[in-house]
C-alpha cells in the first residue's frame, strides 16, 4: 500500500457503519478527497475529535481501491473560537459547503490557492467583531476568481464602458456590473449603490486584514449579500443549504 502526506481541512463527514466515518477533505496537495477515518466514531479513538468540520490537520494516508484511509493524523488548528459563537459557526459551515460545492475531487489546479484562502478566511472569521459577513464575501469573490468565475466589477459587461458614479446594476447572468443607464434593460440586474460597489471591489482586491475594520451601512451590506447570493446561485446552479440556515440566524440576530 502506498502512503502519502497531506495538509487537510474537513469539509463534511458521514458515518460509516458502527465505527468509521467517511470524510470529505480539502487537501493542499491533492484538492478535494473522500477518505475513510477508521475507528473515528469510537470516543476512545485518537481520530474521533479530528473528524469535526473545519479541523485542519497534517495527515498520512494510505492509497486504497476506492477511498484512501487515514493512517496518521496531527491536528494543526481546531479553529475552536469558531465553535463558541453561533454567528461564526454558521458562517464557517457555509464556507466549507461553498468550497465543497464548487470543486471537483482530485482537481489540483488551484488546490494550494484554495486551501490557503480557506484557512485565511477561517482565521480571519475568528477575529471579526463587527462585520463577519465581510470575511464571507471576500472569500466568495476570491474563491470565484480562483476557479475562473470572478465577476466583472470595474466596467459595464454590456457596453464595455466605465461605470457611472451613481447606482449601477449587477447581473448574475451577464457575469458582473452593468452601467446605470443599462441596468433597467437587464432583466436580472440587482442595484449596487456606489458604497456597495466599492465594498465589492474592496472584498475582491484589498489586503485581507482590511476586512476586519470595515463598517458598511446596513443598506450596502444587504445589497452586496444579495448580489453575491444570486451570482453564486447562478454559477453553481443550486442554493446552498447552509446559506438558508445562515439566513435564519441573520434574521434573528
Amino acid at each position: 500500500m502506498a502512503h502519502y502526506n497531506a495538509t487537510a481541512l474537513v469539509l463534511h463527514r458521514t458515518d460509516l457503519g458502527e465505527n468509521d466515518r467517511i470524510l470529505t477533505l480539502f487537501t493542499r496537495e491533492r484538492g478535494k478527497l473522500g477518505v475513510v477515518a477508521k475507528g473515528s466514531r469510537k470516543g476512545t479513538s485518537r481520530l474521533s475529535g479530528a473528524t469535526e468540520l473545519f479541523m485542519t490537520m497534517r495527515l498520512q494516508l494510505a492509497e486504497a481501491r476506492s477511498l484512501d484511509i487515514i493512517t496518521q493524523c496531527e491536528i494543526v488548528d481546531t479553529h475552536n473560537p469558531l465553535r463558541l459563537n453561533l454567528d461564526l459557526l454558521a458562517r464557517a459551515t457555509y464556507l466549507c459547503e461553498l468550497l465543497d460545492r464548487t470543486t471537483e475531487e482530485r482537481d489540483t489546479l488551484a488546490s494550494e490557492e484554495l486551501f490557503d484562502l480557506t484557512l485565511t478566511a477561517l482565521t480571519l472569521l475568528a477575529r471579526t467583531t463587527t462585520y463577519p459577513d465581510g470575511v464571507l464575501h471576500a472569500y466568495e469573490l476570491r474563491l470565484l476568481e480562483a476557479i475562473g468565475y470572478a465577476p466583472v466589477l470595474d466596467h459595464c459587461v454590456k457596453t464595455g464602458e466605465p461605470l457611472e458614479r451613481r447606482t449601477v446594476g449587477f447581473s448574475p447572468s451577464l457575469g458582473g456590473t452593468v452601467g446605470a443607464s443599462e441596468r433597467y434593460q437587464v432583466q436580472d440586474a440587482l442595484p449596487l449603490s456606489q458604497e456597495s460597489l466599492h465594498l465589492m471591489q474592496t472584498f475582491a482586491n484589498d489586503e485581507p486584514e482590511r476586512l476586519l475594520s470595515l463598517t458598511p451601512s446596513p443598506k450596502a451590506a444587504a445589497e452586496v449579500a444579495k448580489a453575491l447570493r444570486w451570482y453564486i446561485r447562478f454559477r453553481i446552479n443550486r442554493s446552498l443549504r447552509s446559506a438558508e440556515f445562515l439566513d435564519q440566524i441573520r434574521a434573528a440576530g
Binding site: 468540520l53 479541523m55 491536528i75 453561533l86
Partner: protein
C-alpha cells in the same frame, strides 16, 4: 450463476438496509432466521410490527413511548424545574443510567446539520419553548461534542436565554480513567477550554 430463492433474497435485501449491516452480515442473519423454529421467527416479525404500531412520540418531551405521555413525564417525583435536552432517546437512556439526574427531559430527535439539510424546523425545537416558559429554572444541554451538537447547543442557547432561563451545557473533556498521554488533541484542547477553578 446461482441465485438465492426469491423470498430469501428479499429478506437479505431488507436486512441489508439496516444501519451497520453489510451484505455478509445480512446473509448470516437471513440464514439464522431460516434455521430458527417457526415460533421464534414469528416472535421477531411480531415484535417489529408491534413496535411500529404502538410506539409514538411522548406528547410532552418527544421521547419514544407506548402511551400518550412517557414514563418519565408521568413520574411526579421528578424535578420539573430542571430540563435536560438530548438529541435521541438513546442519549436519554445513557443519562438515566447515571442515576444522577432527577429532572425532566426533552428529546430533539436529531441535531441541526445545515449541510445535510437538517434545519431547526425539522427537530422538536418548537415544542421546547412552551415547556421552558412553564416553570423551568435551568435547561441543561446534553448534546454530542460534535460540530452538529455544538451548532444545536448554540442555536438553542440563543433562543432560550431571552426567556430568562439559565442555560448550561455539559462539559466535554477527558474520559474517566483515561490517560492524558493517550487523549486525542481535540479532546485535550476541549478539556483545557472547559477547565474550572479549584
Amino acid at each position: 450463476m446461482f441465485h438465492y430463492a426469491k423470498p430469501l433474497a428479499h429478506l437479505v435485501a431488507e436486512l441489508e438496509r439496516l444501519p451497520g449491516i453489510g451484505p455478509k452480515s445480512a446473509q448470516r442473519m437471513a440464514f439464522h432466521i431460516l434455521r430458527q423454529p417457526q415460533d421464534e421467527a414469528k416472535q421477531l416479525a411480531e415484535a417489529i410490527l408491534t413496535v411500529k404500531e404502538s410506539i409514538r412520540l411522548c406528547s410532552v418531551c418527544s421521547n419514544f413511548t407506548d402511551q400518550e405521555k412517557c414514563e418519565i413525564c408521568r413520574d411526579t417525583k421528578r424535578d420539573p424545574a430542571l430540563l435536560c435536552v438530548v438529541a435521541e432517546t438513546r442519549d436519554l437512556i445513557a443519562m438515566e443510567k447515571t442515576n444522577e439526574f432527577k429532572g425532566m427531559y426533552h428529546v430533539l430527535q436529531g441535531l441541526i446539520s445545515p449541510m445535510d439539510n437538517i434545519g431547526p424546523e425539522l427537530l422538536k425545537i418548537r415544542e421546547l419553548f412552551p415547556r421552558v416558559v412553564d416553570g423551568v429554572k435551568e435547561v441543561i444541554l446534553a448534546l454530542n461534542p460534535t460540530t452538529e451538537g455544538q451548532t444545536t447547543s448554540l442555536f438553542l442557547a440563543s433562543r432560550l436565554k431571552p426567556l430568562g432561563v439559565k442555560v448550561s451545557q455539559i462539559a466535554s473533556g477527558l474520559p474517566a480513567g483515561g490517560d492524558l498521554d493517550y487523549a486525542d488533541q481535540a479532546t485535550l484542547i476541549s478539556a483545557l477550554q472547559w477547565r474550572r477553578e479549584m
